[in-house]
């Protein structure tokens, strides 16, 4: 049962509170990921990044947000109006739904009630996330098509082809983890990674032989979120801005937010699947017992986001045919080999 040991009312109230907190944290994280990106990339390129608004430019996200809201909301003529409006909404809402399946920590005890730090847990959480990411393709594809512009259409075509192709590798890279953990529940996957070898090597999946899977996942995830070096759909030099060329103001902001919140989701998923989620040393008073797991989790997510930005500051963009052959001729065989080897090892051991 979904309610666990709680009454229905408390469950609903707790869920609403959790949803509010998660949304707030997520949107703040998205805003400050943008800030961080500009800062880090700035430093990599030997400049300062945003400095004017607030100390260290910390209020820059706020200013950006206000700018998006107050800009003229232009709907070009000749677009397919319904789909043109639907597309960004679809993109954003799908990326927000995905986050509600992510567990941020183990359950906490508040006033005698055991509340899991997760909006919802199901037996097939991972599958649902995969389903949501595959629906998210529509946002991009429809944006490209409904704009009725060549650049958008090409960007949309490229993006949907890219996302479908990399989804195969992404899905296969998870199979190894699933074989080791034997569950689709994200909570269960983290549980399966608790403990250490020799007291100091954590039993994370990445150390259980899923090293290659981890890298396949990371590469596929970059492509899924359309980030450099796989940001072909919005390659400015050839396609203006790709599928969102014709979008402005809030609708553009929605795509923007969707992209960054997808980054956060992907980073969360990577931490859960490969790096043991919230596991880590827990000590001190009860309040620390509750907060430390969240801290460890956040640390890992932050690490991934930093790597994202680092890669962006470092690597050039692929060519489109290279991108496709990389997915099909390199990542896919590698992922299949990983699945086969993992399955073989597990089968021989049992």
């Amino acid at each position: 049962m979904p309610t666990g040991n709680l009454s229905v009312t408390t469950f609903v109230i707790a869920s609403i509170i959790k949803i509010a907190i998660v949304l707030w944290v997520l949107l703040t994280a998205v805003a400050y990921t943008v800030w961080l990106e500009r800062k880090v990339v700035g430093h990599i390129q030997n400049r300062w990044g945003p400095t004017r608004v607030g100390p260290f430019g910390l209020l820059q996200p706020l200013a950006d947000g206000l700018k998006f809201i107050f800009k003229e909301d232009l709907t070009p003529p000749y677009v397919h109006k319904f789909l043109y409006i639907l597309a960004p909404m679809l993109a954003l809402s799908m990326s927000l739904i995905a986050i509600c399946l992510i567990p941020f920590g183990n359950s906490v005890n508040i006033a005698g009630m055991n509340i899991p730090l997760q909006i919802t847990d199901t037996n097939i959480a991972l599958l649902i996330i995969l389903g949501i990411t595959s629906i998210a393709v529509y946002g991009v594809a429809l944006a490209g098509w409904s704009s009725n512009s060549k650049y958008s259409l090409l960007g949309g075509l490229r993006a949907s082809a890219q996302m479908i192709s990399y989804e195969v590798a992404l899905g296969l890279s998870l199979v190894g983890v699933l074989i080791l953990c034997g569950t689709f529940s994200l909570h269960g996957i983290v549980e399966a990674q608790t403990g250490t070898w020799f007291g100091f090597i954590p039993k994370w999946n990445i150390f259980k032989g899923q090293f290659i899977a981890f890298f396949i996942y990371i590469m596929a995830a970059y492509a899924e979120t359309n980030r450099i070096p796989f940001d072909l759909p919005e390659a400015e030099t050839e396609l203006v801005a790709g599928y969102h060329t014709e979008y402005s103001s809030m609708k553009f902001a929605m795509f923007f937010m969707a992209e960054y919140s997808n980054m956060v989701t992907v980073a969360c998923l990577a931490s859960i699947l490969f790096l043991g989620g919230w596991t880590g040393p827990v000590f001190g008073p009860p309040i620390l017992h509750a907060l430390l797991p969240i801290f460890w989790f956040a640390l890992r997510v932050l690490f991934f986001i930093f790597v994202y930005i680092w890669v962006r500051g470092t690597l050039p963009r692929f060519r489109y045919d290279q991108l496709m052959s990389f997915a099909w001729k390199f990542l896919l065989p590698l992922a299949i080999a990983n699945v086969m080897i993992t399955a073989l090892v597990v089968a021989l051991r049992s």
Partner: protein, 164 residues
């Protein structure tokens, strides 16, 4: 009660989506209606306890097959369909045939004593359960689907490849 309400909500969405699929003239609208139908069918699967299938339905049908359709529509940039008079044979034989067939199926369903109420999720279609069946009893069909997929890939490549 909740079960019935959910069934009705998603059932109505599915039927409306199916009708919209027929009523729309632009293929992309039809495709999106079909995605809606598939999504609500996934919800119906969840109501029946087939949670693994529900997820797979979204991933495979809505997320892969229909994306392929949308992709093709975008690629061909096909406009709204023209209203030509189709083959009369299809209408003259097809529609009455369909009506008779529907009546027959409805009659059979009503007579089939399937009015039994089954509790929500009484048959829990977990990934484990399906996996056990798939890799034991249905091992051969499972392996043979690889031939099916191979033949489909080969065919698609041969047919869609441009002449050099």
């Amino acid at each position: 009660m909740l079960h019935l309400a959910l069934f009705l909500i998603f059932g109505v969405i599915a039927v409306v989506g199916a009708i919209n699929l027929i009523a729309q003239t632009h293929p992309i609208n039809s495709a999106l209606s079909l995605v809606v139908v598939m999504g609500s069918l996934a919800a119906e699967y969840l109501l029946l306890g087939a949670e693994f299938l529900g997820a797979i339905q979204v991933i495979v049908y809505a997320g892969a097959i229909m994306v392929l359709f949308v992709f093709t529509i975008m690629l061909l940039n096909a406009g709204a369909e023209e209203q030509t008079r189709g083959s009369k044979v299809a209408i003259i034989i097809g529609i009455p045939g369909m009506v008779i067939g529907s009546v027959a199926v409805a009659w059979a369903l009503i007579r089939a004593h399937t009015g039994a109420e089954v509790p929500v999720g009484s048959l829990y279609g977990s990934a484990q359960g399906i996996g056990h069946l798939l890799f034991r009893d249905f091992l051969l069909p499972f392996e043979i689907t690889s031939v099916l997929i191979l033949i489909a890939i080969m065919g698609a490549v041969v047919l869609a490849r441009r002449e050099s």
